[in-house]
């Protein structure tokens, strides 16, 4: 980290150019933006969109994925559709959503969900396919019932897939949200970045990026890592 910062500093001083400000200049702008309330506002808006679209995609995707993973015929039918949706460029869905449903919040969320959903479905489908049949038989024999079976037999087996879908999902969703905001929203990080781009304000772009990366890192340390450790506690 220190090495990276000093390299950045050295390069910035050497180039002495507006397109690469020094770390100190970026930190200064970051601080000012936080104080002015601009950054917290736009970051908050983007995070809200991230939470909503991420939750919808995860809930819907896990349900569909588990069903497909357990029904061979359904899966054979939808497999091609999945591949198609996996490969439609994000930009296309975003533009279509805006054109068809208007420049609205719900259209923005929908566009993100459509982009994320196929990935979640595929991840959970693989998880559901790999479920241990012997343990499911045991649960059936001892009459665990649906709720107990899901909580104690199925979910622990899906846990690694949940974590992987979460991590890759957060990364993917936030990148798509920025494009969505850039194209059709009047607030959020994507909108701000577009303004800075028009002004050639690289320092502000970097400041916003750092703020977002910090939030994602905090999420990783405070939520994902502990969840990971909890899920793995039984391993030798």
């Amino acid at each position: 980290m220190l090495f990276f910062l000093s390299l950045w500093q050295g390069l910035a001083v050497y180039l002495h150019n507006n397109t690469l400000p020094t770390p100190l200049a970026v930190a200064h702008i970051l601080w000012q933006e936080i104080l002015s309330g601009q950054l917290p506002h736009h970051l908050g808006v983007t995070l809200r969109r991230l939470c909503i679209s991420f939750s919808i995609a995860m809930l819907l995707g896990s349900a569909i994925g588990i069903v497909l993973g357990q029904h061979e015929k359904l899966n054979a039918f939808f497999d091609n559709w999945l591949v198609i949706f996996l490969n439609i460029p994000a930009l296309v869905t975003i533009i279509l959503c805006y054109v068809w449903f208007g420049l609205e919040e719900s259209a923005a969320i929908l566009a993100v969900v459509i982009n994320k959903l196929p990935n979640v479905i595929v991840t959970f489908r693989e998880g559901a396919r790999a479920l241990n049949q012997e343990l499911l038989e045991m649960a059936r024999c001892y009459r665990f019932g649906k709720y107990k079976t899901f909580l104690h037999v199925i979910f622990p087996q899906l846990h690694p897939f949940v974590m992987s879908a979460t991590r890759s999902g957060l990364a993917l969703v936030w990148k798509i949200i920025l494009v969505v905001e850039l194209l059709g929203r009047s607030d959020g990080m994507g909108y701000q970045l577009q303004l800075f781009f028009q002004l050639f304000d690289v320092a502000s772009i970097l400041a916003y990026t750092i703020a977002f990366v910090a939030v994602i890192q905090l999420l990783e340390w405070l939520v994902l890592k502990p969840l990971d450790n909890y899920g793995q506690r039984w391993r030798r």
């Binding site: 012997e134 343990l135 038989e137 045991m138 059936r140 024999c141 001892y142 665990f144 107990k148 104690h152 037999v153 622990p156 506690r233 039984w234 391993r235 030798r236």
Partner: protein, 247 residues
């Protein structure tokens, strides 16, 4: 009353991939009286596990019918599988308690069983840290703890060391006498079968059929004596040479 009536006309495993269709069981009729202890003896791969799975209701894909207990009352079935089948992400105690209908009511029973099986010190341990023998004992406790009407055991003592196996065996008999239930015990160890069973059922290689049903009339209190078991075994082999080929 939990009598068991088995009448399997045919059980076939369908062809899959390069494997051909396989006729596992054919014309198999067996009736067990309530509270009887029956040992199924046959070579490995003869279809014993398939039979137990069918009785447990895990495999319903066969021609024929199996009636366990009275109609409309689902009997409680304790099943000790060939592998322990414990949930690796739940502790020993949780694994046992998950099978119970009422955890608080049965906690004393569980404590007692853990004590007898010498597992009370590992209650909070995850199964991956246990030896195979210990895992097997946990699986046995799980089956006992639900107070089953029918107990199905699929070579449950295979990897236990002889002293532990002897101990668990006598515990099994003790528990069975305390609260009689119908036991179907699969083994290919004839001595073990003689020591435990009211009735021995010898099974042919696939398609599995019954070769002979032989009652064991040795009184329960004499079964700890290995010479008694051994002489019964010799007598069996002399009378039924076909048995020897199975073992």
């Amino acid at each position: 009353m939990t009598d068991i009536h088995i009448d399997i006309k045919q059980k076939t495993y369908a062809a899959k991939g390069s494997a051909k269709a396989h006729l596992a069981i054919e014309n198999f009729q067996l009736s067990l009286e309530s509270h009887q202890f029956v040992c199924l003896v046959g070579s490995s791969g003869c279809g014993k596990t398939t039979l137990l799975n069918s009785i447990a209701g895990l495999d319903t894909d066969f021609v024929g019918e199996i009636i366990v207990g009275e109609q409309h009352i689902k009997p409680k079935i304790g099943y000790v599988f060939q592998n322990p089948r414990l949930l690796p992400w739940r502790t020993v105690r949780e694994n046992i308690e998950l099978a119970l209908e009422n955890v608080t009511q049965s906690s004393e029973i569980v404590d007692n069983l853990l004590q007898i099986m010498q597992l009370n010190t590992v209650q909070a341990v995850y199964p991956e840290r246990l030896s195979l023998g210990m895992s097997r004992r946990v699986a046995i406790i799980r089956a006992f703890a639900i107070n089953p009407d029918v107990l199905l055991m699929d070579e449950p003592f295979v990897s236990l060391d002889p002293p532990t196996a002897r101990q668990v065996r006598s515990l099994l008999i003790q528990l069975w006498q305390q609260r009689p239930h119908t036991v179907l015990f699969v083994t290919h160890d004839l001595r073990e079968a003689i020591a435990l069973a009211d009735k021995l059922v010898f099974l042919s290689p696939p398609p599995m059929q019954i070769i002979s049903e032989i009652p064991v009339l040795i009184p329960r209190n004499q079964r700890d004596d290995e010479s008694v078991i051994e002489s019964f075994r010799q007598q069996l082999i002399n009378e039924y040479p076909a048995i020897n080929r199975l073992l």
